[in-house]
């Protein structure tokens, strides 16, 4: 991608794939110590006693890693005006040390608010995959794009 993408450059069904995020034990524990200090996010032993079956990343950590891939892969190339939230997120599989994540997104909705003539909302249906091609997380998130 060389040119900056504006709202008009997106269309329903458009897909993008990007990212390679290697997840380490140190990062899982560091994030969880700060933001989600539950035992199954801090130690392998404690994780084994839960339905997660071992040390696994906080769901908010998965969101944050997905955001990093989204920024590097797409938002950097957009005339981006920020975010307003996320319609939905579902954590489908535990993310563990050694996992390598990637992201696929599809444009599922385009909205042009009449009251805001210089922006549009591009909604992305996102899937975070692990190296076994399992979907670890899905989300539905609008991004605000400047109109060209």
């Amino acid at each position: 991608m060389s040119d900056i993408l504006h709202f008009e450059d997106f269309h329903i069904g458009q897909t993008f794939a990007f990212g390679r995020y290697a997840v380490t034990k140190e990062e899982i524990v560091e994030f969880a110590s700060q933001f989600d200090p539950q035992p199954h996010h801090l130690s392998e032993e404690a994780g084994k006693k839960t339905i997660l079956g071992g040390l696994s990343a906080s769901g908010w950590h998965i969101c944050s890693m997905a955001m990093r891939m989204m920024v590097d892969g797409l938002i950097r190339h957009m005339a981006n005006r920020g975010g307003v939230g996320s319609r939905e997120g579902r954590w489908m599989k535990p993310v563990r040390p050694g996992d390598v994540l990637r992201l696929e997104v599809e444009v599922t909705e385009l909205k042009e608010p009449q009251s805001l003539p210089d922006i549009g909302f591009v909604t992305f249906d996102a899937r975070v995959f692990n190296q076994r091609e399992q979907v670890a997380m899905v989300s539905l998130t609008p991004i605000v794009a400047k109109r060209g």
């Binding site: 994030f31 769901g59 944050s64 990093r68 939230g85 939905e88 954590w91």
Partner: protein, 155 residues
């Protein structure tokens, strides 16, 4: 706390946090490196007029205080607050940018309980979660979901 013991309408104040510019930039450099989150000069020139926190930073901070509150409750009363493993969230809204020096109070209110046909040992608890400023201004809200164990043998 068992699913059966959780009451709809219960509202908890989880804690209060003042965001610093350093922590906003540190988080965003790693997870959301857009100019208006990491570069004070570029942020000043942006539509936000200054550094603002990544929305995901605000979510993560809500979670920090939710867990600390649950652990405090467990230590004080020997009973864990509502929680359990979460399958996800809905309807995240960042109503107002969070800026350095902003002080937010995080809350969690139980708004719904659902049976799960596929998982008879668990129930789904829905919560309305918020971050508000000292004057009550809403900065962030979302619907949280928790899978909470039911009492063995129906209590």
């Amino acid at each position: 706390m068992w699913f059966e013991e959780i009451e709809i309408g219960t509202k908890r104040v989880l804690g209060t946090h003042t965001f610093t510019q350093d922590e906003i930039i540190t988080f965003a450099k790693r997870y959301d490196p857009q100019n208006f989150h990491i570069d004070p000069d570029a942020a000043k020139a942006s539509m936000f007029g200054g550094i603002i926190a990544s929305g995901w930073h605000t979510m993560a901070m809500w979670m920090r205080y939710a867990i600390l509150s649950r652990q405090r409750e467990a230590a004080e009363r020997g009973v864990e607050g509502p929680g359990g493993v979460s399958p996800g969230f809905e309807d995240v809204r960042w109503q107002k940018p969070v800026r350095p020096g902003d002080t937010l109070t995080f809350t969690m209110e139980t708004v719904g309980k659902r049976d799960l046909a596929s998982r008879p040992a668990l129930g789904l608890v829905l919560s309305r979660n918020e971050a508000r400023g000292p004057d009550g201004t809403l900065y962030m809200s979302f619907t949280g979901k928790g899978l909470v164990p039911r009492k063995p043998n129906g209590g």
